[in-house]
Symmetry: C2
Subunit: 227 residues, 2 copies
């Protein structure tokens, strides 16, 4: 489903170059449940942004479902982002002047659906993360963990086939983390491919594959057998 | 040092009321090292914002070093915030259009010091968190964990007597988390009072007191004996 070959990303800042990714190659099959781990600054978010079609590599190839992403134009990329991929950002990236409900509805505005459908579907997603009675709150009227859950609900609302989640439990207490991981596990059991970045081994335990990044490369890639 | 009595905070949103804090009373002595834990939405950040003089309670008292904070005017509050307290925000709260160095320098602009002193002192703080060669980067040119470390450096730069840190390791891998907790431990050994919010038991292990919040109240308060 996801194939990357020699993926590299260099940021240029004046005369300084930051080599965020230095040749990453791997394949993630449909229906996998993988955790990406690694030190701060090792390239995890940069990798996720490229796989999520939010950024382009400096070198290398990325094929999604056999399609060469590097050959697509902006509209085609936006289409894939909205149809196939649900993305939970490390910093949540909620719109600060709109309610939790409107934030969750946002990915559905590209679809040809009624307002009622959009609202009901968004409320469903908020219910899944336990926030339906906060639908009218603005992000700054929500706790850190509540904002993170709104970001998770938004990633689920278009029924994506791939979920990319960058530190989805970083602001959640253990009980809410378990609830969120149960959600991801249930989605994975329905066939959805889930890739999440985490630095917590307890969270990685839920997954069946651990990919470790170090200095912009893959250091270790372990498939875990679970009974 | 920190005394709160019957601290309450209610948010009014139209005709809905959110009782974020429902009568919190406790004392934190000078030089303590405490962890605040509790479920998402249980009132931890609200409590920290009041103790950090960033917000006012709806009811109750807050005495800092014997001074009734409720009786101070805005300038006096700002003075205390800048002189006595170093605050690490759950969402980092970095200025997006200024460099890491300038973000760390910010608390020193209220002081009557030279530009050179300010810059050198800020570089020192960045060095402590391992980011001195990123001083010129903007926040969106830094990874999540790097942004968190800039927020930590900013909290240290005015040599505060109290550090309040809201989820300071939420975006950090285990090695960087250990480095940050070592920093807090060293500061505490020098006599600085450290109160941090965390949902990770491994982080709470570094502290000598665990305060558990539930539904806007203190559920449990345990002093830990360490050999
Ligand atoms: N400005 C606000 N307006 C309305 N409600 C708010 C506001 N800020 C916080 N709240 C609500 O107050 C309650 C406590 O929030 P708080 O941020 O203190 O929780 P928390 O314990 O820090 O949670 P987390 O672990 O998720 O960060 C939550 O229900 C939250 O939605
Ligand atoms: N827009 C940018 N411009 C310049 N450098 C960048 C930019 N974005 C990221 N970087 C740098 O690229 C490297 C990798 O960043 P990335 O965000 O992928 O790390 P990460 O593994 O997600 O870290 P964390 O665990 O701290 O979130 C870091 O050194 C970071 O400073
Ligand atoms: Mg990251
Ligand atoms: Mg909080």
């Amino acid at each position: 489903l996801i194939t990357v070959r020699h993926l590299s990303k260099t940021y240029h800042m004046g005369d300084v170059e930051v080599h965020a990714l230095r040749g990453v190659s791997l394949e993630i099959a449909r229906g996998e449940f993988a955790a990406i781990m690694g030190a701060s600054g090792s390239g995890k978010s940069t990798f996720m942004n490229i796989v999520g079609c939010l950024d382009v590599p400096s070198k290398g190839e990325y094929l999604l479902d056999g399609v060469d992403i590097g050959k697509l134009d902006r509209d085609q990329l936006a289409g894939i982002r909205n149809e196939k991929i649900g993305f939970v950002f490390q910093g949540f990236n909620l719109l600060s002047r709109t309610s939790a409900l409107e934030n969750v509805e946002l990915p559905m505005f590209y679809k040809n659906v009624s307002n009622a459908y959009r609202r009901d579907h968004a409320m469903e997603a908020l219910k899944i993360v336990g926030l339906e009675d906060r639908w009218h709150h603005l992000p700054n009227q929500l706790s850190g963990g509540q904002q993170q859950r709104v970001a998770i609900a938004r990633a689920l609302v278009n029924d994506p086939s791939i979920i990319l989640a960058d530190e989805p439990t970083g602001n959640l207490d253990s009980r809410t983390s378990v609830e969120v991981m149960d959600i991801f596990q249930q989605l994975n059991e329905k066939g959805i491919t889930v890739v999440l970045v985490t630095h917590e081994p307890d969270i990685a335990e839920y997954t069946k594959r651990n990919i470790i990044f170090k200095d912009g490369k893959i250091r270790k890639d372990t498939h875990v057998e679970r009974s």
